[in-house]
C-alpha cells in the first residue's frame, strides 16, 4: 500500500473510533476505575481502543501510575509542616499522666 493511502486509512480508522468510542471524559473515569477493580469486557475493549488512538489519555494513564508509584515509594516527608502546639502538648501530658 502506498504510504499516502496507508496514512489516509489510519486517519479514517482513528476518526471512526474516536467518533464511536466513549469520549475522554468517560475514559479518564474508567482509567481511574481500572486501578480499583477489573473492568467489564466491554469497558476493557473500549479503553484499549481509545488508548490506542489517544495520546492524551495514554499520558493520563501513565501519570496516574507515576503518581501512585512515586507516592508509595517513599513515605511523606514529615520534616516540614505544622508542629504540635504547646497547648496540645500540655493537654496530652496531662491526659497521659492521669492514665499512667
Amino acid at each position: 500500500m502506498a504510504p499516502n493511502a496507508y496514512d489516509k486509512l489510519k486517519h479514517s480508522v482513528r476518526y471512526f473510533l474516536l467518533r464511536r468510542l466513549p469520549p475522554c471524559q468517560q475514559i479518564v473515569e474508567q482509567i481511574s476505575d481500572s486501578m480499583e477493580h477489573r473492568l467489564s469486557l466491554r469497558e476493557r475493549i473500549n479503553l484499549k481502543l481509545h488508548l490506542w488512538i489517544c495520546a492524551w489519555c495514554q499520558w493520563y494513564l501513565e501519570h496516574l501510575h507515576l503518581i501512585r508509584d512515586a507516592a508509595r515509594s517513599k513515605g511523606p516527608d514529615l520534616t516540614s509542616g505544622p508542629s504540635l502546639s504547646s497547648e496540645a502538648r500540655e493537654r496530652i501530658k496531662r491526659a497521659t499522666d492521669i492514665n499512667q
Binding site: 469520549p23 471524559q25 479518564v28 476505575d33 496516574l64 501512585r68 509542616g81 508542629s83 499522666d97
Partner: protein
C-alpha cells in the same frame, strides 16, 4: 525528673519529646485536620501505655507508635462516619468536577480541551519523588478537595489501603469510593502538571 529505665514503665514525656511532632505530622497529612490529629496523637499515647508490656523495647519505638497510630486513624474515621455518615453522593457532589478540562460543545464534546490535555511529563516515579517540593505540592494540591476525599485518596495512594478496607471504614459503597478517587486523581494530576510541567504562559 528521674530518668526511668525503658523496660520498666512507659515514659510518655519522652515519647512526646522524641516522637510527638512526627506523629502529629503523620496524622495531619492523613486527616487534614489539626485538632483531630492532636486527639489521635493523645489516643495513640494512651493506647501505647496500655500496650507497653507487649513492646518492651523490641524494635524501634517510633515504628511501634506509628503502628498504633494507624489503628487510631482508622478508628477516627469510623467514629466520624458514625457521627456524620457520608450520605450517598455527599462528598462526591462537593468536589471539583473539572468539566472545564473537556470540550463542552462541537463534534468533539467530552474529549480533552487541547489547552488542558495532559502533556508528556518525561519523568519516572523516582524523578518525581526526588523533587524537593514533591510532598508540599502534593499536599497543597489536595487541599481544595473535600476533606474526606483528600483523606481517602491519601490512604489509598500513599498508604496503599485497599478499596474494601476504606469502604468498610467510611461505610460507603464501592461506587461512591471510586467516584471520590476519580475526582481526586483528575484534580491532583491537573494541579501537579500546572505546578511542574506547564510553561507559565499557557
Amino acid at each position: 525528673m528521674e530518668h526511668r529505665s525503658p523496660d520498666k514503665s512507659p515514659d510518655c514525656a519522652a515519647w512526646l519529646d522524641d516522637h510527638g511532632d512526627y506523629l502529629f505530622k503523620y496524622a495531619v497529612f492523613r486527616l487534614r485536620d489539626q485538632t483531630a490529629a492532636e486527639d489521635v496523637v493523645q489516643e495513640t499515647f494512651l493506647a501505647a501505655i496500655k500496650a507497653y508490656a507487649n513492646f518492651q523495647g523490641r524494635g524501634s519505638e517510633r515504628t511501634w507508635l506509628v503502628g498504633i497510630m494507624k489503628h487510631k486513624i482508622m478508628d477516627h474515621f469510623r467514629r466520624v462516619t458514625r457521627e456524620a455518615p457520608v450520605g450517598e453522593g455527599a462528598d462526591v457532589e462537593d468536589g471539583p468536577e473539572h468539566a472545564e478540562l473537556f470540550q463542552a460543545s462541537g463534534q468533539w464534546t467530552g474529549h480533552w480541551d487541547p489547552n488542558h490535555a495532559p502533556t508528556d511529563w518525561q519523568s519516572t516515579p523516582s524523578e518525581l519523588i526526588e523533587r524537593s517540593d514533591f510532598w508540599r505540592v502534593f499536599s497543597d494540591c489536595l487541599s481544595p478537595l473535600p476533606q474526606r476525599t483528600a483523606s481517602v485518596f491519601t490512604l489509598r495512594e500513599v498508604d496503599g489501603l485497599n478499596s474494601d478496607e476504606i469502604c468498610a471504614m467510611l461505610n460507603i459503597s464501592a461506587n461512591n469510593l471510586w467516584v471520590m478517587l476519580h475526582r481526586a486523581r483528575l484534580h491532583l494530576r491537573n494541579c501537579l502538571e500546572l505546578n511542574w510541567f506547564k510553561r507559565p504562559e499557557s
